[in-house]
């Protein structure tokens, strides 16, 4: 628990030093170094149109099959979306963020960052180390002031305290933005859907499809992944999630959220090779209004999930130092 209390101290300290920190960074900004919002055009790679895809597979009862066709392999090649601020869309699906060249007219929708079958990849404008503009570079994200300050802090320290770096699981939409493959397994006879994730500490999600409501009051225990109930709306799998704890970030860039977060996800499979993911994030604890995000996740045929375990030998923790150059774990430096 030592590191948790340490974290609180850091956050408190951060609130005090953030303004000067940020001002200093602004002064040091290198002319010509593009921020994410001003990323140069034409750097896109591997974003060409995917090969023609087969039609959407369906289960025996006609429901869209979000997983494998019997007899075939295949996994969802979850993209690396480091900044979900770049995937915010309006109600019609149009991107609110300026999009780099090569990302199609559907904006965020085209954005797994990979053509079909290409390997993992496609981070968001990190430009190596730099290009982190903080909250003011994302005016379309409805930050509350404290959330903007926390986001700025996470930007300045380059996500040093990202919970995923500590092998904690992502929560909410980040499950679909952490670059390890996943599978969706529908169990209609059991009225539930399982999602299994290779990454995110080798984790799984259960979505109850039996019509039950969310627990309320103290029966709703705050957890990393929250409580998911789902139903089909036509060809869409709609999942409603509440009950998140506050131990996760929305994304690698460090958009914060609170335990008031309510997520509504909409999964569609417009063709065999594409999972289209849309999500509404409604967190009145951190944002002034709900916002939508969307991206595509390509199918990777002829592949299986493999084992990935984060907690085995995480040297990041052993070498990480805090804002005062002291080790997060182990004895303090002399």
């Amino acid at each position: 628990m030592r590191h948790r209390s340490h974290g609180r101290v850091l956050l408190t300290t951060a609130a005090l030093v953030i303004a000067s920190f940020w001002a200093a960074r602004a002064q040091q900004a290198i002319p010509g170094q593009p921020s994410e919002a001003q990323a140069p055009q034409g750097r896109g790679r591997g974003r060409g149109p995917a090969a023609p895809s087969e039609p959407t597979p369906r289960l025996a009862d006609g429901t869209v099959n979000f997983g494998r066709v019997p007899g075939e392999k295949g996994i969802w090649n979850v993209p690396y979306i480091t900044n979900m601020g770049m995937r915010v869309v309006d109600d019609s699906g149009q991107s609110l963020a300026p999009q780099p060249a090569g990302r199609g007219a559907r904006g965020a929708a085209a954005g797994g960052g990979r053509a079909g079958g290409a390997p993992l990849g496609g981070g968001e404008g990190t430009a190596g180390n730099g290009g982190r503009g903080g909250a003011k570079s994302e005016p379309w994200v409805p930050f509350q002031p404290w959330a903007a300050a926390v986001y700025d802090y996470n930007s300045v320290n380059q996500s040093k305290y990202d919970p995923e770096g500590y092998c904690l699981p992502p929560g909410g939409p980040r499950m679909m933005a952490t670059p390890y493959p996943a599978e969706i397994i529908q169990l209609p006879e059991q009225k539930r859907v399982l999602m299994i994730f290779e990454g995110a500490t080798h984790i799984w999600r259960e979505i109850f499809m039996d019509g039950r409501p969310h627990p309320t009051g103290d029966a709703l225990n705050p957890t990393y992944l929250g409580h998911s109930v789902g139903h089909y709306e036509g060809d869409a799998l709609v999942v409603d999630v509440v009950g998140f704890n506050e131990a996760t970030w929305l994304d690698y860039f460090g958009h914060p959220h609170t335990d008031q977060m309510h997520v509504v996800e909409r999964f569609t499979r417009p063709n065999k090779n594409t999972l289209h993911y849309e999500t509404l994030v409604d967190d009145p604890g951190a944002y002034t209004k709900p916002f939508r995000m969307a991206w595509d996740i390509p199918w990777r045929p002829n592949a299986d999930l493999t084992e990935y375990i984060c907690q085995e030998n995480n040297k990041y923790l052993q070498r990480l130092t805090d804002d005062f150059d002291q080790p997060l774990f182990g004895p303090p430096k002399k």
Binding site: G121, T126, N313, N314, K315
Partner: protein, 134 residues
């Protein structure tokens, strides 16, 4: 084995265009992408472990003759296997060439982007560095 090596070389071009990322921790908090390193050394230790495999090489300074031991971070074993690695691709005593980024703190630690094995095969190291393009 020869076929595998040849295929690996052919695959290199494809891989260049679609560098995989196995994100676990903040690359930027630990490494400096503006400090590229290219080291040649003899492998002293291999940790084929999650969430990052590490290997250590003795690197000799040509001018001073001094030998420094460097630790290089790669991706997870499963990510490395998708790149063509096996746990026996590298053995203690092999002389390898590694390209990557140095640690920000100036220690003899680096993040490997690619490794040229003693066989001449170059494999990507499933680096955790996020791609530059959005």
């Amino acid at each position: 084995m020869k076929t595998k090596l040849a295929l690996g070389t052919v695959a290199l071009g494809l891989l260049l265009a679609s560098m995989p990322v196995m994100a676990h921790h903040s690359f930027a908090a630990e490494f400096d992408s503006t400090k590229p390193i290219k080291l040649t050394g003899s492998v002293t230790k291999i940790e084929w472990m999650n969430p990052h495999a590490y290997f250590y090489i003795d690197v000799k300074d040509e001018k001073t003759g001094q030998v420094a031991n460097w630790g290089m971070e790669m991706g997870s074993p499963n990510g490395l296997m998708r790149q063509g690695w096996t746990r026996n691709s590298m053995k203690i005593g092999d002389v390898v060439i590694v390209e990557g980024s140095a640690a920000k703190d100036g220690s003899n630690i680096g993040n490997a982007r690619s490794v040229t094995l003693s066989t001449g095969t170059r494999l990507f190291a499933a680096s955790s560095q996020a791609p530059a393009n959005p």
